[in-house]
């Protein structure tokens, strides 16, 4: 399922992990008028959300099945898993897929080596190092063309 298809419906997005990426994503989505819920086990992390953030915030452990239920993951159209631990992200994504039957699961993965664990479970992965290296490569090759 493409993100654009999800957008059609009245979507509700759950974000696990309120780091720089999670918080900025939550702020952006909320500014665009989407329903967002963000979970982080650290209360202070939620301070990264902007003043204008209009979504929900939940303090708790995203690896806890009951916590995900409380976050009403059942109703969510998508879940974005961006904690700072790859293995945690893998586990939460798989729980979202298998326990909550979510179709659109996006996870960040620092270490691209473990990618195939995700691929098999149809989880979309974002790997910062690969994205960065692609961008740097683009800049470098653009420079040569000039």
């Amino acid at each position: 399922m493409k993100y654009s298809e999800v957008k059609e419906k009245n979507e509700f997005i759950v974000i696990v992990g309120c780091g720089r990426l999670g918080a900025s994503l939550a702020n952006t989505l909320s500014d665009e008028g989407r329903d967002v819920l963000i979970i982080d086990k650290n209360k202070d992390a939620l301070r990264k959300l902007s003043m204008s953030y209009g979504g929900l915030a939940l303090i708790g452990d995203g690896t806890d099945i009951d916590m995900l239920r409380e976050a009403e993951l059942e109703k969510a159209t998508a879940i974005v898993v961006v904690t700072n631990n790859d293995n945690t992200n893998i586990m939460i994504s798989q729980m979202a897929k298998n326990i909550f039957n979510k179709e659109l699961v996006i996870a960040r993965l620092y270490d691209p080596e473990r990618d195939y664990v995700y691929r098999e479970f149809e989880i979309d992965t974002i790997s910062p190092s690969i994205l960065s290296s692609n961008e740097i490569w683009k800049l470098l090759t653009d420079d040569e063309g000039r």
Binding site: D64, D66, M91, Y116, V117
Partner: protein, 222 residues
């Protein structure tokens, strides 16, 4: 050929397990990401120790995971254990993976994710303590199927409330059956209309940890 086992994480548990696996003629490799722990474990004879993060594919490769017969994940973190087992299954084709799980609610999920055996330490310990506490009512106790099913021998004393009752009159939990009655020299497979007599020895088969409730019902102890 010697069978190969890899143990990832855990310190005291890993040591105890390595010792017993070595006695059973296993070739044991332990992976631990704490250097001090690794030094201590290296003192065990015949154990190969690898210092590294067992959730990383290249560390498992160093440990020769593709040739392992069994991989046991004992780290503190459920997510790490899950990843270790999945990597071993998917990338290294290990035939048997065993994982410790701390959160009892995740046990079923771990099985769903293809791990062969999931051991929930919290549940297992709580069950053992509970059974120990009620040990008076039981003379023998055998857990099977990773402790999900148990066979217990329960003696019926003269004061038990079920004496003279037929089996169908006893309000046993659904998950419990009386598989056999030992009466004197005889053993019998009971039917619904079999009466329980003082001095009988009942063999209970129960799942879902219902044995304590059943024993309460049978012996009247609380």
């Amino acid at each position: 050929m010697k069978k190969r086992a890899i143990i990832v994480g855990g310190f005291h548990k890993a040591i105890a397990l390595s010792n017993s696996l070595i006695k059973k003629n296993y070739n044991v490799t332990v992976i631990n990401n704490d250097y001090q722990n690794c030094l201590s474990m290296a003192e065990i004879e015949d154990v190969a120790v690898i210092n590294g993060d067992g959730t990383k594919p290249y560390v498992l490769e160093d440990a020769n995971a593709q040739n392992a017969d069994i991989v046991i994940a004992l780290t503190q973190r459920d997510d790490d254990n899950l990843v270790v087992c999945q990597l071993c299954k998917k990338k290294f084709n290990v035939s048997r993976t065993v994982s410790l799980v701390n959160d009892p609610k995740k046990t079923e999920f771990f099985y769903q994710m293809g791990i062969d055996s999931v051991v929930c330490a919290v549940n297992a310990i709580a069950n053992i303590i509970e059974q120990q506490a009620f040990l008076k009512g039981i003379t023998a106790f055998i857990p099977i199927g990773e402790g999900r099913i148990s066979i217990a021998e329960v003696p019926i004393q003269g004061t038990a409330p079920v004496i003279g009752k037929k089996l169908w009159e006893i309000d046993l939990p659904k998950e419990v059956i009386i598989g056999c009655i030992l009466r004197g020299e005889k053993s019998m497979i009971p039917r619904g209309d079999t009466r329980i007599l003082a001095g009988d020895m009942l063999v209970l088969i129960s799942s879902d940890n219902q044995e304590v409730a059943a024993i309460k019902e049978l012996t009247g102890r609380s």
